[in-house]
Amino acid sequence: MSIPTLEQRPTHKLLPLLRSEVSRITHRRLVRVMALILLGGIVVISIFTFFMHSKQLASAQEQLESNRAEQQRYWLECADSAPDPDLAEKFCGREPATQPLERFDWGQDDRYKAYEVLPIALIGAAIAATGVAFLIGASSGGAEWSSRSMTLQLLFEPRRLRLLTIKWLGVVLSTTVLAAVAMVVAVGFGALTAQLRGTWDGQFAPVDELRDNLGQTMMLMGLRGLVLVAAGATIGYAIAMLVRNTGASLGVAFVYFVVLENGIRFALMRYGSEPYMLSTNAVAFLFPGGLEVPGEEAGPYAESTSVDLTNLRSFVTLSAYTALLSLPAAWSFSRRDVG
């Protein structure tokens, strides 16, 4: 027995460390299973969606037109009985003939409406990927502690913040790549469905940004989705670094989302807690232009105010949450005894 000779002394470079870290993550079975579930789930839902939509564009269109025509007839009758033609709209509501066709859809229009559903598919994929990213982050961090392999790695790279940063980067990199694939698959299937069994009619767009420029708006949503996924992975990893255990990290997340957030909603919504909820901000961050959410109630009989949760505002809130968890995690990792 003798010790084998090395030609080159061990190095301490960032890129090899990152490569090793990504390899460590992607070799984990849980990560592979989660990736498979995420992508498989998206594919299954996409196929389902495909078959739920009908190709009969023409008949749907005709049906809606006849619905509108029927409404128009009722409206004209109503307008006739109005005391003054100028007051017709006040008495009978808006004239159906001037209204967009989709208002008259009573379930007959089975077309896949790209402008309406594609953004939802993207948001759905991004949020599912964020959950997976959290799980991967938490379990990567937790597994490191339970197997004590963190100790071993510190014997190869003792600079703790450097090691932690690279490990965090590895988690973020792997999860965002997975999320990007998930979003592309979801939107790709959606586009295919729209092509074969739906419509690219811009009038179905829920907001102006989407109607005006679907491609660019979706692209920006996708990028925000990646940021959200990175935040999810970071939060998961940070919690695991703090509690040094996967199960406990998942427990913390469960308690937060299921117990704490709903509890706060129930108890404090009228005091304006909604704009500070993590899940609300996650959706508002993805949705083009943000969301309008309930704010503080002005008084027992007054209408409740609403808060414009813009993308920027929710980004700031999400960042604050992420920083609130990851800075103490980094600080504690850099100081606490290991192993």
């Binding site: 027995m1 003798s2 010790i3 000779t5 071993l152 510190l154 014997l155 003792p158 100081r335 005894d337």
Partner: protein, 306 residues
């Protein structure tokens, strides 16, 4: 210049509901270059704690530590590439194979993957290299830990109970490996409870208890310091010989049919005293102390697990 030089290291663990406990209480550890240095002490005496402090895993309260001349923990990154470590039970990721575990470490340090195969070969894990560590036996894990410690081809090897769980053949291989490494100029710091092993392969030892050094130095000097200087004497008429020796002022007694004389500087003095009384010793044998006896004597005074 010593390879490892630690002076006055203190480390206190806080305990819930109890006063803090000093695991290291001003410990000194000096290891010169090359050879095998034993680091001994009863359970809980602070060996692992000291090694963790030396490797930057635990933070010492006070004390000055240097490895290869570099201040620890501040300049540890500068020398970590030269230090191979096995700490108590090795820490691998159980669902991964042994090979993958080592490859991940190798990749990070840009060590060629051929080295992984080579170190696995050294510890005779080649056949099991592609099995998950989860299914490894205690001894196999230990072998893998030793392989990981050698991955960097270190000039300093720090091993905390490397023989733990090894079979007799494995222990012997490790012994031979460490001795060969020590001879080739590698500095080996070996913490072990197998005192026979330590006595066989170590050049120097440091024995600690309750976080403090009790004795330190070359193995034979430590043994000599604990030697009572007893001399066993074989003589036909033991009762008479005893009478003669006691009368001559020796602290002697009969044991197992021969005479045991304490604190003898020179055996000739005993032989002459007997010969003057017409008693001729058939043999004289100085009583050796082995490391186990020395260790027990040195660490006995305070007693108990720390």
């Amino acid at each position: 210049m010593p390879v490892i030089e630690a002076r006055g290291v203190r480390k206190t663990y806080r305990r819930r509901g109890k006063p803090p406990k000093a695991a290291l209480d001003g410990l000194d550890l000096v290891v010169d270059e090359g050879g095998v240095h034993g680091f001994l002490g009863p359970n809980g005496s602070g060996k692992t704690t000291m090694l963790r402090c030396l490797l930057g895993l635990a933070r010492a309260d006070t004390g000055d530590m240097r490895v290869l001349g570099q201040q620890i923990p501040h300049s540890l990154p500068a020398v970590i590439g030269d230090i191979g470590v096995l700490l108590e039970s090795p820490a691998f990721f159980p669902p991964f194979t042994a090979r993958l575990n080592l490859q991940l470490l190798a990749t990070a340090a840009e060590i060629p993957h051929t080295q992984v195969g080579a170190v696995l070969d050294v510890v005779q894990l080649t056949d099991a290299a592609d099995e998950r560590v989860k299914g490894y036996s205690l001894g196999m894990r230990q072998r893998l830990g030793i392989a990981a410690a050698m991955l960097k081809q270190p000039s300093v090897l720090i091993l905390d109970e490397p023989s733990n769980g090894l079979d007799p053949a494995g222990m012997r291989e490790v012994r031979q490996l460490l001795r060969a490494l020590g001879d080739s100029g590698v500095t080996v710091l070996l913490s072990s409870h197998l005192l026979g092993e330590v006595q066989q392969i170590c050049d120097t030892v440091t024995i600690i208890n309750h976080g403090r050094v009790v004795t330190s130095g070359p193995v034979d000097e430590v043994l000599k310091s604990q030697s009572t200087g007893a001399l066993a004497v074989g003589v036909a008429d033991a009762p008479r010989a005893l009478e003669v020796l006691v009368t001559a002022g020796f602290a002697a007694r009969i044991q197992d049919g021969h005479i045991l004389v304490d604190r003898v500087e020179d055996g000739a003095v005993v032989a002459r005293a007997l010969a003057d009384a017409q008693l001729y010793p058939s043999w004289l044998m100085p009583q050796q102390v082995d490391l186990e006896q020395a260790f027990l004597a040195i660490t006995a005074d305070e007693g108990g697990v720390a």
